[in-house]
Amino acid sequence: MSKTKNSQLDKDLAEFDKIIAQKLEDTGVKSTKKQQTLYFATGFIASHLINYIFITIFQLKFLEWWLLFIFNSIFSGLLLVLPLHNTTFSLRFKMFTNKEQQIRNKNKKENTDGPSQAKKDILNLIKKEAISFSIFYNLIFYIFVALIFIFYIFGSFEPASNLIASSASSIFIVGFVSTLPIKNQ
């Protein structure tokens, strides 16, 4: 009796793992190269707004400090890929969980784990919404936090040190917040 119970439990667990793995794959637990390039490009452009502040307000000459500005932009872009992906995935997973019932009602005969056109459409829309929200929210948050660090926390530092410290700290804060769970909608 116990052997049959254990085998049934193992079967159920294996099926559950399969469902979860499929769900994670559908909601993009691994980001594609296209998405990573998009995140890097948006982070790279947003970090130029920070460079603009240092060139105009802190009078850091571009011709003297061009290397620092380029490194700051490249590293900010690279490091912002992770928090952007985290927020995208969390949102996609949450939205897909909420819409699962809707997909089941549409395709009563088919299994939600299998391929269906309704599921593909919904997943596509969810992906676009999650990516655009993640970029919009994370980059606004990044610039807001960077401005606080630049003018209040590291305001007494030398401008070059201020740039490095505030960029690094704001990316750290954005990354940390992106790992927190999204509240129930």
């Binding site: 452009i45 947003a46 707004l49 603009y52 502040i53 105009t56 307000i57 802190f58 009078q59 809707q102 549409k106 309704a118 829309l125 969810i126 676009k128 919404e129 655009s132 929200f133 970029i135 919009f136 980059l139 606004i140 610039i143």
Partner: protein
């Protein structure tokens, strides 16, 4: 008679010696500071103020203040002098000495201490007291200081404009996608 003279002389000298040894002495502490600005610039007046305070119980005599630290750091004296003299400073009394300086060359400077020589009691040897140090100061060019302290309104407007240019298309795209996502499923089947 001569022995009485000797004893009297001895007693007088003993009294005098006791008086000199245990007389109340003056003790000076000196503060040196720049009072008109925290961030000096070139061609700007820098006002240095020396405050000498007698914290001892006796009068300090023949007080002489001398400070060459400004001279060695390329500062020119506009008003006042780098040395000053007071005959006496009573116990608990403060005296001040101010001078106006300026410099043409920007850069980092190190303003060290000045010296005050005085006699803590009459007929006593001279004692040296040092002023406080101002330490490292950064003299910036006048033009860059002016630009650094401006409100930078045009630059902030430029920043806001660039931010809007970047975020508004994102916001529009996001709102469009959210609207599509919230459409009822029945509407799609009406082909």
């Amino acid at each position: 008679m001569t022995s009485f003279n000797l004893i009297g002389l001895f007693l007088i000298s003993l009294t005098f010696f006791t008086f000199v040894c245990f007389a109340q002495e003056g003790r000076l502490i000196v503060d040196k500071d720049i009072i008109n600005t925290e961030y000096p610039t070139t061609n700007q007046d820098v006002i240095a103020l020396y405050t000498i305070c007698n914290v001892g119980e006796g009068t300090a005599y023949n007080v002489f203040l001398k400070d060459d630290s400004w001279y060695f750091e390329d500062f020119d004296v506009l008003e006042g002098s780098l040395s000053a003299k007071w005959d006496q400073i009573l116990p608990g009394q403060n005296v001040t000495h101010a001078l106006v300086l300026t410099t043409d060359t920007p850069g980092k400077r190190y303003i060290s201490e000045g010296k005050v020589l005085y006699q803590p009691a009459p007929f006593s040897p001279r004692r040296v007291s040092y002023t406080t140090m101002i330490g490292r100061i950064d003299v910036v060019p006048f033009s860059s200081s002016e630009t650094r302290n401006e409100p930078h309104l045009m630059e902030w407007l430029g920043f806001i404009g660039l931010s809007l240019l970047f975020f508004i298309p994102l916001a529009i795209y996001y709102l469009r996608i959210t609207y599509k996502n919230k459409k009822k499923p029945g509407k799609k089947e009406k082909k």
